[in-house]
């Protein structure tokens, strides 16, 4: 055997260090082996397992030249209070060299309620910008050329409505839909499993999603119609392998649904995109990104028979892990985010949001957001990490870990297939329970100090309460309500009613694509709450099954 000499040397090394470790114990509970060598990659085949960047199975990246062509899109997730305030923040970020927009909406908007709904009380403008009608969207993108910027919108259950508003604003700016670039999250399955902003039951939700796939493939061809998200699954407490496994299982469900709705896989698969978390363990994260691309490429080529290389590519947006930010010694978060940024870049992300140091306390201030953006720019321009394609490719450890995460991912996909696919696995509570287990294990590891979080369970100091946090003024709610009342008084009420009635009829007919009806309603300044209200009436609402 070729590796006989190496095996003997490895055995000698192990014997030697075991003896040393008996005297000076190594750190406990570490999962990886101590050392990786070619022995860990005996089955490794370069051309089969890695290949070249921009080629199947895309382990090394989706573009041939990666960041030597251009850097990832630096895209800070932002939005708070009113459209007026958020528009100012967007223009500030663009002036600071950000290259794409990412809109955060408040919870009433994400769940399809207007600001004047009693259920919205206390939540208006808090975690994002409040959008009630097209008027708010016009203000949000005032003086921002939608033909030039790419915009990502974190919107799921009412994604069709916000996309329609975006298309309508663009039209008013003289930009046609086929010129628009951006993404809607539009990933309802992870809302049921981990994020919580669902409205409708799974069946009509999946219909809305496939309607968007179809509409965009014909009318908004450069738009990313979904961002299949592991981010929130990870935030809810999953492991790295669970993050990509559950997300790819969701992706399989969307592709299945679209094919069942009569679409050709290569007509829509190229516009599917993903969303990963960049967590603290740098090399594990790099391996996760690489493994996810390889798994998705195989799924699309082998399982779905996609022919176009674009359909095989897992293109990904990344956000650094919010749940890893500490409220203690918040400036330490700048360092955490820098390492997470390194992981995302070494992993080959297409775009990135970096969290701000103060986000375990409140929404970030302008100063904090600038530091977060500068972190990306420092990694891009100064660190050298972006100079070579997949610089960790060939590392014994990273390749072994990539294989291990891929294997775990396939095991989960098999298990979920056996349960009837991701929607059934969520319905049975399987995915939620797996995530909860991991979250609880993590918390216990922190509490018994098997896992050290600097400043939280070790290296604590006495701290003064944080100062200078961003506060969303309570007057935002009243301002937003009066703006909505004014729009409702000035619009053509009969036109609104007619378009809402047409939408209601279309909702009842499964063969209708709802996008044109929603677009027509939006243009009459029908509100988000009114449009979602019509759909709630026809589709009903999802009721979560809670298990602990």
């Amino acid at each position: 055997m070729a590796n006989e000499s190496l095996q003997a040397k490895m055995a000698a090394y192990t014997a030697k260090v075991e003896k040393a470790a008996a005297k000076n114990p190594e750190r406990q509970n570490l999962v990886p082996n101590r050392l990786y060598t070619p022995l860990d990659l005996e089955a490794f085949d370069y051309e089969r397992d890695l290949g070249f960047p921009g080629e199947y199975p895309f382990t090394r990246g989706v573009q041939p030249t990666m960041y030597r062509g251009r850097f990832w899109t630096m895209r800070q997730y932002a939005g708070f209070a009113t459209a007026e305030e958020s528009n100012k923040r967007y223009r500030y970020l663009l002036e600071q060299g950000q290259t794409g927009l990412s809109c955060a909406f408040d919870l009433p908007t994400q769940i399809g309620y207007d600001s004047d709904d009693p259920i919205a009380e206390g939540e208006i403008g808090k975690v994002g910008v409040a959008i009630d009608t097209l008027k708010d969207m016009e203000i949000l993108f005032d003086q921002i050329d939608l033909g030039k910027v790419s915009t990502s919108m974190t919107i799921n259950a009412p994604a069709a409505v916000l996309l329609a508003m975006y298309i309508a604003v663009a039209e008013k700016q003289g930009v046609s839909a086929d010129k628009l670039n951006g993404t809607i999250q539009n990933d309802i399955l992870k809302e049921y499993a981990a994020r919580g902003t669902y409205i409708f039951p799974p069946k009509p939700s999946m219909r809305l999603i496939t309607n968007i796939f179809e509409y965009c493939s014909k009318n908004v061809p450069q738009w990313n119609t979904i961002s299949i998200s592991g981010y929130h699954i990870r935030e809810a407490g999953s492991t790295a392998a669970q993050e990509i496994a559950f997300t790819i299982a969701d992706g399989i469900a969307y592709v299945d649904a679209a094919i069942k709705a009569g679409l050709n896989v290569d007509d829509f698969a190229g516009r599917l995109s993903f969303f990963w978390n960049a967590h603290n363990n740098v090399l594990e994260e790099v391996a996760k990104f690489r493994a996810s691309r390889r798994v998705w490429a195989k799924v699309m080529k082998e399982r779905f028979g996609a022919q176009s290389p674009k359909s095989w590519m897992l293109r990904v947006h990344t956000q650094t892990a919010g749940s890893m930010l500490t409220a203690q010694q918040p400036d330490n978060n700048i360092v955490r985010v820098a390492l997470q940024t390194a992981a995302a870049v070494l992993g080959g992300t297409q775009s990135l949001h970096t969290n701000s140091r103060d986000e375990a306390l409140a929404l970030p201030t302008e100063d904090s957001v600038r530091i977060a953006l500068r972190t990306q720019q420092i990694v891009a321009y100064e660190s050298g990490l972006a100079d070579v394609v997949d610089p960790l490719g060939g590392s014994y450890y990273v390749e072994a870990l990539t294989d291990k995460i891929e294997k775990e991912c396939w095991e989960y996909i098999k298990k979920i297939d056996e349960l009837g696919g991701a929607p059934a696995a969520i319905e049975k509570g399987y995915i939620q329970r797996e995530i909860q287990e991991s979250a609880y294990r993590w918390q216990m590891e922190v509490e018994n100090k098997q896992r050290v979080i600097v400043g939280v369970n070790q290296f604590q100091i006495k701290e003064k309460p944080a100062e200078g946090l961003l506060r969303v003024d309570a007057s935002v709610g009243e301002f937003q309500k009066s703006k909505l009342a004014k729009v409702k008084a000035e619009r053509d009420g009969a036109a609104v009613q007619a378009k809402l009635a047409a939408l209601e009829t279309a909702c009842g007919d499964e063969h209708q694509n709802l996008m044109p009806f929603i677009l027509n309603a939006v243009k009459t300044y029908a509100s988000l709450g009114e449009i979602c209200g019509v759909m709630r009436k026809v589709f009903g609402e999802y009721e979560a099954h809670v298990s602990l």
Binding site: G122, E123, A362
Partner: protein, 130 residues
Amino acid sequence: MERHIRVLVAKPGLDGHDRGAKVVARALRDAGFEVIYTGLRQTPEQITEAALQEDVNVVALSLLSGAHNTLFPKVVNMVRGKGMNDVLVIGGGVIPDADIPGLKEAGVAAVFTPGTPTASIIDFIKANVK
């Protein structure tokens, strides 16, 4: 027989972040409490009703959306309004330090912010349930 402390873990408002609520619920259960978790999107009315129905000693609110100054006092008032004067109302989540005195004044017995060990919550409940 030892009396079991009964805790309602509740998510008021529209916030969907329930990692913390679920971890706390499980830790409280492991500590020997009887725990009921409401699930997401509960109005103060629903939480109060559940507290009454389940005859709990503690209502533990979790909120990360920033709506705590509106929703926590509302729950306290409703719980008291229904005559549950001995029920301990506590809260947790992403809550700036500056808001804590106001919440305590409104009757929230304690506020637990990110990084709190579950043991501190358990100890607080044991020490303060009447």
